[in-house]
């Protein structure tokens, strides 16, 4: 059964909840503009994004004088897009997918490769065909490099990508065998890329190539299907496996509903995923306008990741202009808090939830909040955000604590409160 649609018109608190989840957060004006709308129309409006970018992005990764500098600029450019771009949900989804189809800058150090990967995540962020998305990721030079399929040749298998395709990108553990991993690797032989290899060519654009002479054309059996399977066949079989619908839906519930998803609701989304042949937009539109999404127990149920905390603070403050150096620092600081963009610790990605919280990360969140509100480089605001924008609620729980403080101090203390850490 699909999720039940949420019937009421959005209250200001409903609108704040929706924007905290889909746009990292929002100013009072943005929340008020959404209040009174129909839930389905609001979700559809947010999902209806184009490929328009934030104007005036000061970071150009191609200007990096070394691979490392190009990577830093890539992070800065992405953070800028999240903070100031016209389609925060597209960026939130790109961030979510970067934590699903994981690659890492420890191995992927070619700048056009990173740009192509990131644009791929944006293009398919809410695309109607998950299998197509998976195929394009599998053939992206960034993924070929990161999981070594560029070295997977006939008779000389490299199983890295084949394994993670099943374990982390599609069905999840428990729905495939070691033989599927081995057979999948055979089918994926010959997929590689040319150009852009080595430290010297970090600005050269690589492209996917299929080397037929390195491909194993023999018969394979994969996920119960036998035949002369190609790499395309294997990715499609994995991406359209019934369990993939559950695995991917659970990821979306983690990102948008709660850190500990309700399996009944996940099953409902999975059913929609299967019925629509992997239409991510359909799944999201239903989810973001459901009673489940707006249920009281699912509010303030997601611990903001470091990037969500930083971008959320900037968007809540009304997107004040930050210095370029400060933005690069913030990208690094997010790394210190456990979320360096495009560099999760492992191919599994960030577990998130309570994993984001420990003594050191809490201390760093306090420092970031101070820098954005009280520090010498703090942006000047015409007005401080209200509790609705900061906390998603009109009746502030924190009133007693904040009484008598200057407006900037109130904002600072709210940013370090448990409530602001939650979306």
């Amino acid at each position: 059964m699909p999720l039940t649609p949420y019937a009421p018109k959005l209250t200001p608190e409903d609108a704040a909840h929706l924007l905290r989840r889909t746009s990292f957060g929002a100013s009072d004006a943005q929340i008020r503009a959404l209040a009174g709308k129909d839930a389905r129309a609001a979700a559809r409006g947010l999902l209806n994004f184009t490929d328009a970018r934030a104007p005036g992005n000061p970071f150009d990764p191609m200007q990096g004088a070394t691979p490392g500098a190009g990577i830093q600029l890539t992070r800065g450019a992405w953070l800028f897009e999240m903070m100031y771009g016209p389609h925060p949900l597209r960026e939130k989804l790109a961030l979510t997918w970067s934590n699903h189809f994981v690659i890492g800058t420890d191995k992927v150090r070619n700048i056009p490769m990173l740009a192509a990967y990131l644009n791929l995540l944006r293009r398919h962020a809410a695309a109607p065909d998950f299998a197509r998305f998976a195929l394009e990721v599998a053939q992206s030079p960034a993924m070929l490099r990161y999981l070594d399929n560029d070295q997977n040749r006939k008779g000389k298998p490299n199983e890295n990508f084949s394994r993670e395709l099943l374990e982390l990108f599609t069905t999840g553990i428990g729905h495939y065998t070691e033989d599927d991993v081995r057979e999948g690797a055979r089918a994926l032989t010959g997929w590689t890329f040319e150009g852009g290899r080595g430290n010297q060519k970090y600005l050269e654009e690589p492209r996917f190539v299929f080397r037929a002479n390195q491909h194993d054309t023999g018969r394979k059996t994969y996920l119960g299907h036998s035949g002369n399977l190609s790499g395309e066949d294997v990715v499609r079989l994995a991406a359209t496996h019934p369990q993939t619908a559950v695995f991917v839906s659970r990821k979306l519930h983690r990102a948008f509903v709660r850190d500990t998803p309700d399996e009944g609701a996940v099953a409902a989304s999975a059913e929609t995923f299967r019925r629509t042949n992997g239409n991510i937009r359909a799944v999201l539109e239903e989810l973001l306008s459901s009673t489940h999404f707006y249920a009281p127990e699912n509010r303030a149920a997601v611990i903001r990741s470091p990037v969500e905390f930083i971008v959320g603070a900037v968007r809540t403050l009304g997107q004040p202009k930050l210095e370029t150096k400060q933005m690069l620092n913030l990208a690094q600081t997010a790394g210190k808090m456990g979320q360096l963009l495009l560099q999760p610790d492992t191919v599994k990605g960030w577990d998130g939830g309570r994993e984001w919280i420990n003594d050191s990360t809490l201390l760093t969140r306090m420092q970031v909040a101070a820098a954005l509100t009280l520090g010498g480089q703090a942006p000047k605001l015409e007005q401080q955000p209200t509790p609705l924008a900061l906390l998603g609620t009109e009746r502030s729980l924190l009133r007693a604590a904040l009484d008598g403080l200057a407006p900037k101090q109130r904002t600072y203390l709210t940013l370090i409160s448990p409530e602001f850490q939650l979306a």
């Binding site: 490299n158 191919v347 919280i357 420990n358 050191s360 201390l363 448990p418 850490q421 939650l422």
Partner: protein, 394 residues
């Protein structure tokens, strides 16, 4: 220390003591005096990504090893000979002094039943000490519950591994001792206290508790770390810096019984020699400096290091001059508290399981040695069973 800061610390101490809704073991700890008779510390080193045990402790007399690895085997002439059959990777040279002194132990063919080649499933098994993957708590989290002190184990690094997860809480992560302190802007102490003590439910209550615990932990560390004067020169890099922080915490007597440090990037599917050589070099140089520091501080009798990785790698190299995920591997331990030498047989390269070394020693037996013989704890209660292990703790 400014008067304001002193008041703030006093205040936060009260706030923590007055807490409600704390998990049981934290509440017990809040009323319990810190410190017990046993002052020994276990330092756990995690090599993330599946370190290739065969190129770490090398069966250099075995022709099958060289046959399986034409490109990436360590040439016999480069091996640091330990026994007539086994020797160390040349990058481990900084540890030779410890070996010669009888303070370095290798455990051979360590693993667990029904090996899982997933990094994450396998790591979770090592973290929870539960090959059925039924438990969410980590084995070190269970130590903390047993001792009743949430500060008795800490991770050094940014994110807390599952090994340090307790029923309702993660144990502290200290990402740099110097930064591990609360600096509240002037004039906000009282308001911060009120904000923090507002009554909450759900995830907000979890975050509230985590913040309170952080205030206690930072205070405990900062009150003590000034006592440390370094006794060795550490190499550059994060891993060595974390080992130095471990030495500082131990010297400061902050009371941790277990410290946890991670060194990553051992997933060497391609071009293994360059990558693993570099990592083993970092490992050895860092540990040698750490040990020298402890010796200089007069603390070497109190500290034992135990290292592991989630699995070893396949015996045969792959076509990318790397190795794919395998099963059994080596563990190591060092310090004055270990019984130096090789514990276990050389790997049997003629009798493989799907191309991998079969495990012969259960890692929980190795843990049991650290728990019962070093930390003086009831290993059975923590591991959920009796596991015989090599007698690696002196």
């Amino acid at each position: 220390m400014s008067p304001t800061r002193r008041e703030f610390l006093k205040y936060s101490a009260l706030a923590v003591a007055a807490t409600s809704g704390m998990p049981g073991f934290l509440a017990r700890a809040a009323t319990q005096a810190a410190g017990s008779g046993n002052t020994k510390t276990l330092v756990v080193i995690q090599l993330t990504g599946g370190n290739d045990g065969l190129n770490t402790l090398i069966p250099y007399s075995n022709g099958a090893y060289y046959a399986a690895r034409p490109n990436i085997a360590i040439p016999k002439k480069d091996v640091l000979t330990l026994t007539p059959d086994l020797g160390m990777h040349p990058a481990l040279k900084p540890l030779m002094g410890l070996w010669d002194g009888g303070h370095l132990a290798w455990m051979e063919n360590v693993g667990y039943p029904n090996p899982n080649r997933s990094h994450f499933a396998s790591m979770a098994i090592w973290h929870t000490a539960d090959p059925t993957q039924a438990q969410a708590e980590g084995w070190i989290g269970r130590i903390a519950e047993k001792i009743g002190d949430p500060f008795c184990a800490s991770n050094l690094g940014g994110t807390t591994p599952q090994a340090l997860r307790a029923a309702d809480f993660s144990l502290p992560s200290i990402d740099g001792v110097d930064n591990f302190q609360v600096k509240l802007p002037a004039g906000l102490d009282a308001a911060f206290g009120t904000m923090l003590n507002t009554s909450r439910a759900g995830e907000a209550a979890y975050l509230q508790q985590a913040t309170r615990q952080m205030l206690t932990n930072t205070r405990r560390v900062q009150q003590n770390v000034g006592k440390y004067r370094t006794g060795a020169t550490y190499p550059e890099g994060k891993f060595a810096a974390q080992l130095r922080d471990a030495a500082r915490l131990i010297a400061a007597g902050t009371g941790q019984r277990v410290l946890y440090i991670t060194l990553g990037n051992f997933d060497t599917h391609a071009g293994q020699r360059a990558e693993q050589d570099e990592l083993l070099g970092q490992l050895a140089a860092g540990l040698a400096a750490f040990q020298a520091d402890l010796e200089a501080q007069g603390l070497a009798d109190r500290v034992l290091v135990m290292g592991f990785s989630e699995f070893g790698r396949r015996v045969a190299e792959n076509a990318s001059a790397g190795t794919d995920h395998g099963q059994g591997s080596v563990m190591f331990a060092l310090g004055r508290g270990v019984k130096g030498g090789i514990h276990g047989d050389s790997p049997d390269l003629e009798n493989l399981s799907l191309g991998d070394i079969r495990y012969k020693q259960d890692f929980r037996g190795v843990y049991a040695g650290a728990l019962s013989r070093w930390l003086g704890l009831d290993a059975r209660g923590i591991l959920g069973g009796d596991f015989a292990g090599p007698g690696w703790v002196a």
